[in-house]
Symmetry: C2
């Protein structure tokens, strides 16, 4: 069950249990960054943007040791450490980020920030701005009046956060999945600012297959009558649809090896044969249902749909005016370490390798490495430990 | 667009367009088989069972040349031929079945039958018995009072159909996907009756990964309030949920190569940038939505959920009392030709190969072959032409 919780949790920091327990926990603090006004790439204005962030390590005197970590679709800025030594779980990449670890916080100053329209609006540690936020002009939640935003807008907010530290060069930008898209966007939009990138389990463009799958992820929310075209604040939220939707995400991001090794075809209840009644489930189904419901309880359906749209419409370098991925990728100068999972069904390996080839065509140094493991796409979150030394070495070059 | 229609259609006979046009069309007729009473494997009685079927070729004098073809999840008994020379499309495996083709109807007598709880209740050529059928005891549709059935029950009905021809040995049983499961069931439950099997894109057991995915397929229907726990006959049917659900099936059964080659990231409407509004879609999304809606229009939501349950609970040899797949597979004696697609995401290649190895362990001759193509799982329906000679040879041995 532990592996299952890990795999499903993807982002619900409370459920992570990869952290090593004990005396060496890095204790971290959530902070909030405020941007009085953001102009989106689409030309809209969002007032009073707030996002949560965490930092690990110390910014050096010449401000040259900053590494930005961007989070995945269902993730948060809690990339490492614990808020309190008694926390059951640490941040999702705690095994990679910390004193003496691959991203060594004795050397580097790590900044991890929440995105706009972050999914986890019900997590007290998450601060984000999106449809569930109060529109300062009306005093009510924006709902679908919130402008559509994309990955480039997430990065615009991060840029302002990085600027606020006086950092003008980033030692590196890294992230998994949607965090990898933000990584591409950083390198394409601010090529002179970003020295290294580590995009993990992310292609340089979503492509039609993932665009279609993201549409599938949205489906159960759109069918839930409580979604009500996004107008549900102060009413009943579409949690049933969102729970089913997040179940799809969990399964799509995982792999049959996980299902076979974790559950087999065991029944959810030994006394209830799935053959005998509709509601008699297999263990894997019951676990996915429970995971989806737990995630839905702390998530917002509109934020979810906005995230889907942001990923579908991703174009690297959009923040610098690129109209196609090819155009954006041509701008990238950062040394690149790209990690992908051959069993990934979200960003399939060929799509990731195409991004590597495109960056290499710029004359830039590109290394790639395969992530093994039983978790499909989620290998990039859960199974990166064997690549710790490679990451450390890449960062030191 | 043609390839897309092909791929999406999977089972909506009207939309198939693989048939060669012209003078050589085999003209076929839909018939109806009636079974006064069926006792299900679960011990329930269903009165007045009716299923549609088609036959191609002529049964020989000693009744030794019959081949049964079982259909896939969303398919029907229209495996080959046209009802009328003016039909736009022929049956789904018309390129394999017919005079002089791989399954040569000059030699063999082919029987193709609709299953119980067939999806396509709104197709005038389909006859099936399921929740949407009239319960003779009440004069009203069964709804969820219809007993849960599984693949073994589909095969029990087929067995009665085959018996009705006086056939005591089947030259072969074949089918793709759920048709492959029925093929396994035939060989495991009636080992002395089945001489050859050709299971295509089907494993010997669904396993937890597919069991979980089948649960995902169900999700949008369950969220649609019009589903109303299956009680919607004479009311508004849950077509919105079913359309979204069938969209998931279409995508899951396909492959990124199809999406990339057919659509790229083109917009559904050249004038409507997906970045500008929620409803502005990519072409691949619009096509999947249209396909899902078209399929939903002729499909029944309860039948869909019953089919899902039947596939989740499949155990080869259940009709002969097998309690596990391993137990059932041990009963198989039929020479086996097994075809699978390395890019299949429904029945992944490793699961199919495990079935082949298990049958081989019985001391039975087993051949396997890989199906290439851009359609993932659907390669087993759409891209079998290169294996026509192999099938012909296997059938003649």
């Amino acid at each position: 069950m532990k592996k299952f919780v890990l795999a499903l949790a993807a982002g619900a920091a409370m459920a992570w249990s990869v952290a090593s327990a004990g005396a060496q926990d890095m204790i971290v603090e959530k902070k909030v960054f405020e941007l009085p006004s953001l102009t989106t790439i689409g030309g809209k204005t969002i007032k009073g943007v707030k996002v949560g962030y965490e930092t690990y390590g110390t910014l050096n005197a010449d401000k040259s040791n900053a590494i930005l970590v961007a989070h995945f679709f269902s993730g948060t800025s809690h990339a490492a450490g614990k808020y309190d030594a008694s926390d059951k779980a640490a941040g999702y990449w705690d095994y990679l980020i910390g004193p003496g670890k691959a991203v060594d916080t004795n050397k580097y100053f790590v900044i991890a920030s929440d995105t706009l329209v972050n999914l986890n609006t019900g997590d007290p540690k998450v601060t984000t701005t999106g449809p569930a936020s109060i529109n300062p002009d009306t005093g009510k939640p924006y709902g679908t009046a919130f402008p559509l935003v994309t990955i480039g807008d997430f990065v615009r907010v991060q840029k302002a956060l990085v600027d606020s530290f006086g950092v003008t060069k980033l030692h590196a930008v890294m992230g998994a999945s949607m965090g990898g898209l933000q990584t591409y966007e950083w390198a394409a939009t601010y090529p002179d600012m970003v020295q290294r990138i580590i995009p993990v389990i992310a292609a340089a463009e979503p492509g039609p297959w993932l665009q279609a799958w993201l549409g599938v992820w949205a489906a159960p929310v759109l069918v839930d009558p409580n979604w009500n075209n996004g107008d549900y604040y102060g009413k009943t939220a579409p949690k049933a649809g969102l729970a089913q939707a997040l179940k799809i995400v969990s399964l799509h991001a995982n792999h049959w090896l996980w299902a076979e090794k974790t559950f087999g075809s065991a029944w959810a209840d030994e006394a209830k044969n799935p053959l005998d009644a509709f509601d008699n489930k297999y263990k894997v189904e019951a676990a996915l249902d429970a995971g989806g419901a737990a995630r839905a309880a702390i998530s917002d359906a509109n934020h979810y749909l906005y995230l889907i749209k942001a990923n579908q419409t991703f174009i690297a370098g959009a923040g610098a005016g690129a109209k196609t991925a090819a155009e954006g990728i041509k701008r990238i100068k950062a040394k690149t370490l790209m990690l992908y999972a051959p069993t990934d069904q979200v960003f399939h390996a060929d799509s990731v390798k195409a991004g590597a080839a495109a960056i290499k065509a710029n004359g830039v140094e590109v290394e790639t490495a395969e992530i093994a493991g039983n978790f499909g796409h989620l290998n990039g979150v859960l199974a990166m430990q064997p690549h710790a030394a490679k990451i450390a070495e890449f960062l030191s070059k």
